[in-house]
C-alpha cells in the first residue's frame, strides 16, 4: 500500500542498502580497505545528520513549524548516551586500577573513584543527581528518548497552547536552545561544563574490538535507523495524519474550524521529531567521540534548516539529499582538500571562502530554486509544479510556495 503510493521509498531503501554494503566492502575491517576508518566514521555521522534532517523536514516541511531548536534535541540524545559511555568506561578503568590494591574496593569506593575521574576537571567530587542512572545502559537508552521527548512535549505544549507561531515560534525555539546551551556550559550543572563528555568512541565492554570494526558497526546502525525512520516518516505522511499536518502547514485556521485539534497534531509531530533527532544524536556522538555544549549553539539548528531547504523541503528524500550533500561538501571544502581557485591576482582558499559560498548559495536557492536539489529529481521524473498563478498553497507563513508544491 505504502509502496504503491510512494515508489520512491523502495528506491531510497535500495540506494541506502547499496551504499551501506559498498562502504562495508571497501572498509578496512570487512573489505579491501579502500575507505579509511576516519572516512567510514564521517559517512556514518553523515547518515545520522540525514536522520536529523529527516525529522526537521517532517516538522518544517510537512507541519510548517520552523523550529530552530532541533539540534538541541540531537545533542541531548548525545549527552544521554554519552553519560553511560563515559561512566561505564571510566568504571572499567577505575576497577582495573583498584584491582591492584591489597583489599578489593567496595561499590561505594568504586563510585567515588569514577566520580573523581569524571568530575575532577570541574572541581567537584559528588555524583550529580542527573547521573543517577548513568551506570545502567537500558536506563540511559530510555532516557535518550525520554528526556528530549519530555522536553519537547513541555516546550511544545507551552508554545502551541498560547498560539505562538511563525517568526515568534522560531525565535522562541532558538532562545530555548541558547538557554539549554548556556545551562550546560556551567560547571555546576553536572555535565562537566564546557569540557563536555569525551572518549565516547571507546565502547565499554568492547575494548578488544578495533575502531575500524566499530566504525562499520555504527555505520550499519545509523543506516538501519535512517531506513526505519524513513519508513516511519513515509507511513506517517502517506496517511490521514500526513494530510492533517500538511493542512495545518498551509491553513491552520481552516483545519481548526474543521474540528481538528491543531495543537495536538502539532505537539505529536514536534515531540516525535525531537525523539528522532535524539536517536540520531545518540548514534552520532559515539562516532564523533566528544560532545560539548557548543554543539547546542543556535547556529547548528539553523544549519539543519539550511540542509532541508537546500535539499528541498516537503519531500522526505529532499531532506536526506540536502543533509548528505551539504555536510559532505562542507567537510570536503573545510578539510583543505579542495584545490584553490586561482583568479589571477587573488586566489580563493576554500577553507576560508567555503562559508561565504554556502551562505550565498543558500540565498540563491531560497530565491530562485525553492525546491532545492529536489528540482533535479523532479526534472528527471518529469514532475512539474501546479500552476496556481503565483499563489502559495495557503495563507500561513509556513505554507509551501507554488514552486515547492507537487502536482
Amino acid at each position: 500500500m505504502l509502496i504503491r503510493k510512494y515508489p520512491s521509498v523502495l528506491i531510497f531503501l535500495g540506494i541506502l542498502a547499496a551504499f551501506t554494503i559498498a562502504v562495508t566492502l571497501m572498509s578496512q575491517a570487512y573489505g579491501t580497505g579502500a575507505i579509511p576508518t576516519s572516512m567510514v566514521k564521517t559517512l556514518g555521522k553523515t547518515l545520522c545528520l540525514a536522520l536529523a534532517a529527516l525529522a526537521m523536514d517532517l516538522v518544517w516541511g510537512y507541519a510548517g513549524i520552523l523550529s530552530l531548536g532541533h539540534m538541541a534535541f540531537f545533542a541531548l540524545g548525545g549527552y544521554m548516551i554519552g553519560m553511560w559511555l563515559m561512566y561505564a568506561r571510566t568504571g572499567e578503568i577505575v576497577a582495573a586500577t583498584l584491582a591492584n590494591a591489597p583489599i578489593p574496593p567496595t561499590p561505594m569506593e568504586l563510585q567515588q573513584g569514577i566520580t573523581s575521574q569524571i568530575f575532577g576537571v570541574v572541581g567537584s567530587s559528588d555524583l550529580p543527581l542527573t547521573w543517577a542512572f548513568a551506570g545502567s545502559l537500558p536506563m540511559q537508552l530510555l532516557l535518550v528518548l525520554a528526556v528530549p521527548g519530555l522536553f519537547a512535549l513541555v516546550f511544545g505544549w507551552l508554545a502551541f497552547r498560547s498560539r505562538v507561531n511563525g517568526v515568534y515560534l522560531s525565535i522562541l525555539t532558538q532562545a530555548m536552545t541558547l538557554a539549554l546551551a548556556l545551562w550546560l556550559f556551567q560547571n555546576d550543572s553536572g555535565f562537566r561544563g564546557n569540557n563536555g563528555l569525551s572518549g565516547l568512541q571507546n565502547i565499554p565492554g568492547l575494548g578488544h574490538v578495533p575502531q575500524a570494526t566499530l566504525s562499520v558497526w555504527f555505520l550499519w546502525a545509523s543506516a538501519l535507523a535512517l531506513g526505519l525512520a524513513y519508513l516511519l516518516a513515509s507511513w506517517l505522511v502517506a496517511g490521514k495524519f500526513g494530510s492533517v499536518i500538511r493542512a495545518i502547514r498551509d491553513d491552520e485556521a481552516r483545519v481548526r474550524f474543521l474540528g481538528y485539534s491543531v495543537e495536538g497534531y502539532k505537539l505529536v509531530i514536534f515531540t516525535l521529531t525531537a525523539m528522532i533527532c535524539a536517536i540520531a544524536g545518540a548514534l552520532y556522538y559515539p562516532q564523533a567521540g566528544i560532545i560539548n555544549p557548543a554543539e547546542l549553539a543556535p547556529i547548528a539548528s539553523i544549519y539543519l534548516a539550511v540542509w532541508v531547504a537546500i535539499g528541498g523541503r516537503g519531500r522526505l528524500y529532499g531532506a536526506v539529499i540536502g543533509a548528505v550533500f551539504v555536510s559532505l561538501l562542507s567537510s570536503w571544502f573545510t578539510g583543505g582538500r579542495a584545490p584553490d581557485l586561482n583568479l589571477g591576482p587573488f586566489s580563493v582558499q576554500w577553507v576560508n571562502w567555503w562559508q561565504v559560498l554556502l551562505g550565498l548559495a543558500f540565498v540563491c536557492v531560497t530565491l530562485f530554486a525553492p525546491r532545492g536539489l529536489s528540482s533535479v529529481i523532479d526534472a528527471i521524473t518529469g514532475l512539474r509544479h501546479p500552476n496556481r498563478r503565483g499563489q502559495d498553497l495557503g495563507p500561513d507563513l509556513g505554507a509551501l510556495r507554488e514552486q515547492e508544491a507537487e502536482a
Binding site: 520552523l66 590494591a101 591489597p102 583489599i103 578489593p104 574496593p105 567496595t106 561499590p107 561505594m108 569506593e109 516546550f155 507551552l158 508554545a159 497552547r161 498560547s162 498560539r163 505562538v164 511563525g166 517568526v167 515568534y168 522560531s170 525565535i171 522562541l172 532558538q174 532562545a175 530555548m176 541558547l178 538557554a179 548556556l182 545551562w183 556550559f185 556551567q186 555546576d188 543556535p298 547556529i299 539553523i302 534548516a305 539550511v306 531547504a309 576560508n352 571562502w353 562559508q355 561565504v356 554556502l358 551562505g359 550565498l360 548559495a361 543558500f362 540565498v363 531560497t366 530565491l367 525553492p370 502559495d392 507563513l397 509556513g398 510556495r401
Partner: protein, 634 residues
C-alpha cells in the same frame, strides 16, 4: 625641643624602670644585631624607654643606618660622618651595617610614634599618624591622648578620629568603647570597619559546660545547619574530649596491614568488597587486641549529647560586641543600598545597549514582519567601519565624529542592497526571509573574518570618554556607558521625530497598519519598506560603533548581541518603539537582577532570563505592547 617632649612623654607613658640607653644596648646586643619580629618587641620598648639618644638610635636602626663595629659598639652612619650611638663620639673604623627586615622595622616605627606625634614638623606628625593607623598597640592610646592638641586643624581632626578608633580597640572601660563605637554611626570608613570586625571574631568551642563569664555569640546544636554532627564530633576529638572515629580509609589501611595469607582475621580478602565484611574483620582484630577499638556510633551519640557547643567572642564584654555588631549591620545595610544603586546604573546601561542593538530590528520587524538574521552582522559592519575610519583619520575625537555617520552610511547602503536583492523577492514569506538573511549573515561573517582576520581589532574611545563617573566608593559608571545611554536616548528621540513628524514616518505607519490600503492611497509600500530597512540597518551600524567602543571588534561581535536583540523585540511587541524600550529595560534589568542573586555566574543569569522570557511569552504572546488593529495578522 623634640627630645624634651619625648622625655616628658616617656615620664607619663613609659615604664618607671627606665634604664640608660648604653646599659640596654649592652644587655641585648646580640638580639639587636640579629633581630626577629617575634622576640624583638620588648627590647625595642626598653630602648624607647631609655631616655636620651633613644629616638636617634631607633630612627637610625629603622633607616638601616645603624652599624656594629668590630669590637661591638653601635655606630650611627649620618651621611659622611659615623658616630657612636651612645656617646656621640666620632668613629673612624669599619662599620658593619645592620639590616633589620620589614617586620622589625614596623615595630621600630611603632615605638617611635609617641615622639613623632608631638614633632613640630607636620609632615612627621602625619607620617606618625599613618604608622599608628596601620600598627597600633595598647600603649599608644595614652600617648595619643596626650598629643591630641595640634596647631593644624586637619591633623587635629585625624588625631581625634584615631583616638576614638584606638579607644574602640584598647580602652579598658567597656562604656567608653561603646560610646566610641556609637560615635561612628553613619561612618562607612574602612578604618572603622577594620577596628570593629576583629571585635566580632569568634572561636568555636566544645566543652562539658560553658564558663559563666564567656561572651557567647551563638549556642550550636549538633545537626543544625551551622554545625554538622561530623564537625561537632571533630571538635570534641580535637579538644581531647572524645576518641577518634574510624574513617573508611583508616579502616582499609589497617586491614591491609593485617592480611595473613588470603584472609584478614578469618574473613577472606575477596569478601572485603562488602563494607559489612570489613566491619566484621576490623571488630575481630580489635577483639584480639591487635588494633585499637574505634568509637562506635552510640559513643559518638552520647558524647555529642554530653557536651555543649558554642561560638564564643574573643572580646569579653557583651555590650561592646552588641554595639559593634549593630554598627557593622548598619554599615552592611548602607552598602547594600549603594550596591543597589550601582546595579540600577548597570542595568540601565545594559538596557541602553540592547535598545540600540534592537531598535533597527524592531523597525524592520514592525513594518515588514521580517526578522533580519543579518542584523547582527550589520552591527559588526558598523564596528569595523569605525575601526577603519580610526586607522585613516588621525585624532580619536575627530575619527569618532566621522565614524558615526560613516557607519550609518555603510550599513544603510548594505541594508538597501539586501532589501533590493533578497527581501523584496520574498515578500510575505517571513520564514524564508529569516533563512535567506541567515545565509547572508554567515557569508558576511566569514567575509569579515577573511578581510580583518580572526583577532580582535581595537576601537579606542577618545580620552574624554575614558574615565568613570562615581558617587562614593561603590556607585560608579564608566563615561562610555553614559555616552551610550545618551546615544540611545538620542535615537529614541530621532525615531519618534521621524515617525511622528516626517512624511516617511507617516508612510511607515500607514504601511505597518495596512499595506493594501496604504498602497491604494498612493504610497509605494516597496519604497517605504526599502527606506525603513535602510534606516533600521543604519541604526545597527551606529550601535556597532557604540558597542565596539567598549567591546573588542571581532567578526562575532554581532552574533553576541543578536539573540538578546530578538528577545527585546519579541518581549517588547512589534512595531512600537515604547515596546522595544520596555523590552530592553526588562531584559537588561532582569539579567542584572538575576546576576545579583548568583553573582559568580553570568551564564546562569542568562539561562534564567531566557526561561523567564519563554514563560512571559505564554502570557503576552504579542509582547508588552501588542499592535492592535483589524489587519494585524494573528
Amino acid at each position: 625641643m623634640r627630645r624634651i617632649v619625648f622625655c616628658l612623654l616617656l615620664l607619663i607613658a613609659g615604664p618607671a624602670s627606665a634604664q640608660d640607653l648604653g646599659a640596654v644596648l649592652e644587655v641585648s646586643r646580640d638580639q639587636i644585631a640579629k633581630p626577629s619580629r617575634q622576640t624583638i618587641g620588648p627590647v625595642i620598648d626598653e630602648i624607647a624607654a631609655s631616655g636620651a639618644g633613644a629616638v636617634t638610635f631607633l630612627e637610625a636602626w629603622g633607616d638601616r643606618r645603624l652599624g656594629l663595629t668590630a669590637e661591638g659598639r653601635f655606630a650611627i652612619v649620618d651621611g659622611e660622618a659615623t658616630i657612636d650611638a651612645v656617646t656621640g663620639a666620632r668613629i673612624t673604623e669599619e662599620v658593619d651595617l645592620l639590616r633589620p627586615n620589614s617586620g622589625v622595622r614596623g615595630l621600630i616605627a611603632a615605638a617611635l610614634v609617641p615622639a613623632q606625634l608631638a614633632d613640630p614638623d607636620p609632615v612627621r606628625r602625619q607620617a606618625a599618624l599613618d604608622a599608628l593607623g596601620r600598627d597600633a598597640t595598647p600603649g599608644h592610646l595614652p600617648a595619643l591622648r596626650q598629643a591630641l592638641q595640634d596647631p593644624d586643624p586637619g591633623l587635629a581632626a585625624r588625631k581625634a578620629r584615631l583616638e576614638r578608633l584606638l579607644t574602640i580597640r584598647f580602652d579598658p572601660d567597656p562604656a567608653a568603647r561603646v560610646t566610641a563605637i556609637d560615635s561612628f554611626d553613619g561612618d562607612d570608613g574602612t578604618d572603622v570597619q577594620a577596628a570593629l570586625s576583629p571585635l566580632l571574631a569568634t572561636s568555636r568551642v566544645a566543652a562539658a559546660s560553658l564558663p559563666e563569664t564567656a561572651n557567647i555569640a551563638a549556642r550550636l546544636s549538633p545537626g543544625s545547619d551551622d554545625l554538622s554532627p561530623d564537625a561537632a564530633y571533630r571538635l570534641l576529638v580535637d579538644a581531647g574530649l572524645a576518641r577518634a572515629r574510624l574513617t573508611e580509609a583508616d579502616q582499609k589501611s589497617a586491614l591491609a596491614a593485617h592480611i595473613e595469607g588470603d584472609q584478614v582475621a578469618g574473613v577472606p580478602v575477596a569478601d572485603l568488597a562488602d563494607p559489612a565484611a570489613r566491619d566484621r574483620a576490623y571488630a575481630a582484630l580489635a577483639q584480639a587486641g591487635t588494633l585499637a577499638p574505634a568509637a562506635t556510633a552510640e559513643e559518638v551519640e552520647a558524647a555529642l549529647k554530653a557536651h555543649v557547643f558554642a561560638d564564643i567572642y574573643a572580646e569579653a564584654s557583651p555590650e561592646v560586641t552588641d554595639a559593634a555588631r549593630a554598627a557593622l549591620n548598619d554599615m552592611a545595610f548602607r552598602k547594600r543600598v549603594q550596591q543597589g544603586a550601582d546595579l540600577t546604573l548597570d542595568a540601565l546601561s545594559l538596557a541602553s545597549i540592547y535598545f540600540l542593538a534592537a531598535i533597527g530590528l524592531a523597525i524592520t520587524f514592525g513594518v515588514m514582519g521580517v526578522i533580519n538574521m543579518a542584523h547582527g552582522e550589520f552591527i559588526m559592519m558598523g564596528a569595523y567601519t569605525g575601526y577603519v575610519v580610526q586607522t585613516l583619520v588621525p585624532g580619536k575625537t575627530v575619527s569618532l565624529i566621522v565614524a558615526l555617520p560613516a557607519a550609518f552610511a555603510v550599513t544603510f547602503l548594505a541594508g538597501v542592497v539586501l532589501y533590493l536583492l533578497v527581501i523584496r523577492h520574498l515578500a510575505k514569506r517571513p520564514l524564508e526571509t529569516l533563512l535567506a538573511t541567515f545565509g547572508v549573515s554567515i557569508a558576511l561573517q566569514q567575509m569579515a573574518k577573511n578581510i580583518f582576520g580572526t583577532q580582535a581589532r581595537p576601537l579606542t574611545a577618545p580620552d574624554w570618554l575614558g574615565g568613570a563617573i562615581s558617587w562614593g566608593e561603590v556607585v560608579s559608571i564608566s563615561t562610555i556607558r553614559v555616552a551610550i545611554l545618551v546615544l540611545a536616548l538620542l535615537f529614541l528621540g530621532l525615531f519618534l521625530f521621524i515617525t511622528r513628524r516626517t512624511r516617511l514616518g507617516l508612510n511607515m505607519r500607514a504601511v505597518t497598519q495596512n499595506p493594501g490600503m496604504a498602497a491604494s492611497m498612493g504610497i509605494n509600500p516597496d519604497r517605504v519598506a526599502m527606506m525603513t530597512f535602510g534606516l533600521g540597518s543604519g541604526i545597527a551600524g551606529i550601535a556597532g560603533v557604540a558597542i565596539g567602543l567598549f567591546a573588542k571588534v571581532t567578526s562575532e561581535l554581532g552574533s553576541d548581541y543578536i539573540v538578546q536583540s530578538f528577545m527585546t523585540v519579541v518581549v517588547g511587541g512589534v512595531g512600537n518603539i515604547w515596546g522595544t524600550l520596555a523590552g530592553a529595560a526588562l531584559i537588561g534589568g532582569l539579567q542584572k537582577g538575576i546576576e545579583v542573586l548568583n553573582p559568580a555566574n553570568t551564564l546562569a543569569a542568562q539561562t534564567w532570563m531566557i526561561l523567564f522570557i519563554i514563560v512571559f511569552i505564554q502570557f503576552r504572546p504579542r509582547g508588552i505592547f501588542p499592535t492592535r488593529g483589524r489587519f494585524v495578522e494573528g
